[in-house]
């Protein structure tokens, strides 16, 4: 075979592989949790709603596609379960995939929230701040389309919540500060605010800092120091015995080796953490404004 013909073969192979490589997204909606009115949504247990998940694309920056996942309270036929619901944008940390926080997204949807999880190119959240807003814009647009599966899932124009873990939490704080019309509250999990940013504009919109006492990546003392500089109202919750990687599924041994051993079972620490998340959501986008003030958990130190 001549060099030129080999060149054509290589070119054709490159082109075909590239074309096929782009076809992994999106994926159709499916039910990931069935409705069960007996579930309490307390202590790590899912809430009563069934949950559906869809991976989708939206056009951003004129010719880019932003990948996002949306989880919503759903009936068995995937339609929205008597919405509208408040929205929560969930941001994984850099170098983690959204699937590593699916457990949190499913849980938040099961207690009555529409959860939007944008996926950054190369899973680098830093530098792609606007993904959160653009993915939310896409879901909001779908919620006002009567023919869409997400029709009436969200209350039009109502601000919601944004939560992130690690660098995702840092970005969540940035978006909460920058886009008050989209986010009335934020929770930063094992995350620090950006340096040289003045957060006073967030006064009167609640922020929550959540961190494990055994976190070896973003330590509880570092989070506590950063939290002390945040405007009121702000809550710090330290979960006893929890590490950084307790928040993520599908972690590797090498990641786990970066920090100490958790001193409590993951199911217990996640249960306590979810009770804090529940209280935060109820107090801010729910109907229990005093939920955080009355929070009393044996495994969580709340300030």
């Amino acid at each position: 075979m001549s060099m030129v013909r080999r060149g054509y073969c290589a070119a054709a192979l490159l082109a075909l592989l590239a074309f096929l490589g782009g076809c992994a997204y999106p994926s159709p909606a499916r039910l990931v949790l069935e409705h069960d009115p007996d579930r309490s949504g307390v202590g790590g247990e899912h809430g009563p709603f069934g949950v559906a998940r869809e991976a989708a694309l939206t056009t951003v920056h004129a010719d880019d596609a932003l990948r996002y996942e949306v989880f919503w309270p759903a009936e068995d036929d995937l339609s929205v379960d008597e919405g509208p619901f408040p929205h929560v944008v969930l941001l994984p940390p850099s170098f983690a995939t959204p699937s590593q926080l699916h457990w949190l997204a499913v849980w938040m949807a099961s207690v009555g929230h529409v959860v939007v999880v944008p996926r950054a190119d190369f899973d680098l959240v830093s530098g792609q701040y606007a993904n959160a807003d653009l993915a939310l814009d896409a879901v909001r647009g779908r919620a006002v389309d009567p023919d869409d599966l997400l029709a009436d899932a969200l209350a039009p124009d109502a601000p919601g919540a944004i939560v992130g873990h690690g660098t995702g939490g840092t970005v969540a704080l940035n978006r909460w500060l920058s886009r008050p019309g989209l986010y009335c509250t934020t929770a930063a999990i094992a995350a620090l605010p950006e340096r040289r940013v003045v957060y006073e504009a967030g006064t009167d919109r609640r922020s929550v800092f959540l961190v494990g006492a055994e976190d070896g990546i973003v330590t509880a003392s570092a989070v506590s120091s950063a939290w002390a500089g945040m405007p009121e109202p702000s809550t710090l919750a330290v979960v006893d015995g929890m590490t950084y990687y307790d928040w993520l599924d599908q972690t590797t041994e090498s990641q786990r080796s970066l920090e100490g051993t958790p001193t409590r079972a993951q199911s217990e620490t996640r249960g306590d953490a979810l009770d804090v998340v529940r209280a935060w959501l109820d107090a801010t986008v729910g109907d229990r404004p005093d939920a955080l003030d009355t929070l009393d958990l044996a495994g969580v130190e709340v300030q």
């Binding site: 074309f19 010719d63 990948r67």
Partner: protein, 210 residues
């Protein structure tokens, strides 16, 4: 010939693609050639029908747009030691895969480079592949104006040229303000079979080497 036609036909799937014709901005040949660039975010395949007029097909990952572009290039300076300067312009139409809306693109670029006696190629360029999209969704009209610095490296491999390209810069878009952008691609240039057999496609701006 049939095999060549079949292999060219295999290039057609990405030819349902458009917007930013990365393949045409590779260090230019002096003869008709096929060019393919595969990387992130652009997959681009094109043909230079003449040294100055070409067509490219693009797929922007992850499933951003597909479409096609027409482009032209002109050498504006050429030195005796293998260096030169080239300007490039292109226009194209594409469709977005997420919502099937229409995007129009216009690209302007300038590139300067040098070809060594050993057949190593290095060039640096600036490219502005602007895009305007009109369609559905929460932002029915979107525009973006990137400002990209591109670096190309290549090697003479017999009748072919192989190389890599990296680009980075800032993008202003109407829906997200300022953001950053980067791209990488491996590329391949193959002389287009013509009467009398394949011709060597030395970059036109490097033809002044004495």
């Amino acid at each position: 010939m049939r095999v060549r036609l079949l292999l060219l036909a295999l290039l057609l799937p990405p030819s349902l693609a458009g917007a930013d014709p990365v393949a045409l901005r590779l260090p230019g040949g002096s003869a008709a050639e096929v060019v393919v660039a595969a990387g992130w975010p652009q997959q681009s395949a094109g043909v230079w029908f003449t040294p100055n007029f070409g067509m490219a097909m693009e797929l922007r990952l992850p499933l951003g747009t597909v479409g096609g572009s027409l482009g032209g290039r002109q050498t504006v300076a050429r030195g005796r030691k293998g260096w030169g300067l080239e300007v490039f312009g292109a226009g194209g139409v594409s469709t977005t895969l997420a919502d099937h809306s229409i995007a129009m693109a216009a690209t302007a670029a300038v590139q300067g480079g040098v070809l060594s006696k050993r057949g190593l190629l290095f060039s640096v360029g600036i490219a502005m592949p602007a895009v305007l999209r009109m369609g559905r969704g929460p932002h029915p009209v979107q525009g973006k104006l990137p400002f990209l610095l591109e670096v190309h490296g290549g090697v003479d491999a017999g009748p072919l040229w192989l190389g890599v390209t990296a680009s980075g810069g800032v993008v202003f878009s109407t829906d997200a303000g300022l953001s950053n952008a980067f791209g990488v691609a491996a590329w391949l240039r193959i002389p287009l079979p013509r009467f009398g057999g394949p011709q060597k496609t030395t970059p036109s701006w490097a033809l002044g080497r004495t």
